[in-house]
Amino acid sequence: MSAQAAITATEMMTVAASRLLRNGDVCFVGIGLPSAAANLARLTHAPGVVLIYESGPIGAKPDVLPLSIGDGSLAETADTVVSTSEIFRYWLQGGRVTVGFLSAAQIDRFANINTTVIGDYAHPEVRLPGAGGAPEIAACAGKVILVLRQTARSFVERVDFITSVGHLDGGDARKRLGLTGQGPAAVVTDLCLMTPDPVTKELIVTHLHRGVSPEKVRAATGWKIRFAEAVEETPHPSTWELDTLRQLQRRTALAHGRPAEA
């Protein structure tokens, strides 16, 4: 497969998310889509990015994407491996993490994150896996980048349950809560890129991926989504980015019997 093959929406999302990581970043990586994007950044424009996984590896450089957050490849390629309590205490809460890279089952217009339940907490329609490390990452990481597929079910006016706080009800809510991190700075989906309004903190579409119309984004959003005055096209993936991602996914599929991000 080469860059000539059509780019999938997932590839577009992964590349767009990867570009938000910089060489000097220390990134606390969630499993799945964030892990694919973070490792793509490491393998392309940000070889110096430090990847931290909640199971304990610091400076992990896995050759294939881990299927789970505690795969042996993370420990083998890390600069060091510490206990889980230490990861959260010294490294995250200690203020050493510049970016938290997370996904979610549901987010709302202020980028609050739900990974707990759909429906009522006591009698849920769907019981989701729960918090993981996200409440602490959302509180303490320098900033948060969210990566998830966009549908009207996953992008809702108000999440059913705030597992991990984004910008709560907007404005200076985070500051009033005494949170040390800046919270969600970008949301990358398979359709577009959103960033919070500097004042209201409501998510605003700033970039549309190639071929995606504003109507398509509106249809996949559960609130009346706003667009920036001058919406740009997301820079298209380069051959280098796409080849690197596809090689990574191919190695991963060989190792696990299927792509890890699926």
């Binding site: 199971s55 505690g70 889980t84 609050n112 707990t116 019981r127 409440p135 602490e136 005494g178």
Partner: protein, 287 residues
């Protein structure tokens, strides 16, 4: 003082119905063989504590061992849902399951508090989250020095902690390496502990800073090679990702789960026989 004994004897003498039991191992070194033995011996009404319930607690919840689950992330890693956990929460099958939810930073440090003989752990999280509104086990306190509002969570103090490790020596000193999770903290937080190991050796030959549990901190050490399968044991065997994927179909409905449980755990003598039955089944499917 660690006693080198069989897993059956250790579970028989150390775990009681109704106990608070923590079985730790973060993706790595999950004590599956011990989980099976608790099911075989019919333990009931356990309050199960584990950061990531994983397949081990999905099996125990589906088998009816648990009344309560204390956890921070309850999915099948890289695959999807834990269907037995979801069935218990959503439909009360095979019995009602009380949930106490935390985040990883919170629960991992609740073990540290337990090991430190402190009543609670303190952390900077949960401001703005709905989790404290649905849990008595997450509260807020004011720092007596700065006035900052911080989250507090009760220490975890298990009656019994169970872990799997790579090696023990003949005295019962235990060595583990790779991804360490919270196993050391969980053992030191508990009143009693069981450690299953891949092998028992004459000398551990460990570095001075290696993660070691001295024999006098462990109640029982049991040699159970492969006892972490389908999770992995660094330096011994890899994670059986195919099994994690197969669990999706096995656990999705009650009948197929019960059939699997009877054939692989209830009708087998021990983990050795479990491994034989599992291999026969896999061979048939592949063939």
């Amino acid at each position: 003082m660690a006693e080198l004994t069989s897993l059956r004897a250790a579970v028989g003498s150390l775990v009681r119905d109704g106990d608070v039991v923590a079985m730790e191992g973060f993706t790595h070194l999950i004590p599956f063989a011990a989980g099976h033995e608790l099911i075989r011996q019919g333990r009931k009404n356990l309050a199960l504590v584990r950061m990531t319930p994983d397949l081990i607690y999905d099996q125990m919840i589906g088998a009816g061992c648990a009344r309560k689950l204390v956890f921070s992330w309850g999915g099948n890693p890289g695959v999807g849902s834990l269907h037995r956990l979801r069935d218990a929460v959503e439909h009360g099958w095979p019995g009602a399951l009380e949930l106490e939810e935390h985040g990883h930073g919170d629960l991992s440090n609740a073990y540290v508090a337990g090991a430190s003989n402190l009543p609670f752990a303190v952390l900077r999280a949960y401001a703005g989250s709905d989790l404290p509104r649905h849990s008595d086990a997450i509260r807020f306190i004011e720092c007596p020095f700065t006035g900052e509002r911080l989250a507090a969570v009760p220490a975890v103090r298990p009656d019994v902690t169970v872990i799997h490790a790579q090696k023990a020596d003949k005295k019962g000193n235990v060595l583990l390496w790779g991804i360490l999770g919270v196993q050391k903290e969980a053992v030191l937080a508990a009143r009693q502990s069981i450690v299953t190991v891949e092998e028992v050796v004459d000398e551990l030959e460990a570095w001075p800073n290696a993660c070691i549990l001295p024999h006098w901190t462990v109640s029982a050490v049991c040699r159970v090679p492969g006892g972490a399968h389908p999770s992995y044991a660094h330096g011994y065997y890899g994670r059986d990702n195919m099994f994690y994927q197969a669990w999706e179909a096995i656990s999705r409905d009650r009948e197929s789960f019960q059939y699997w449980l009877k054939r692989h755990i209830l009708d087998t003598e021990d983990f050795e026989e479990f491994k034989r039955v599992l291999q026969e089944g896999m061979a048939k499917e592949v063939g």
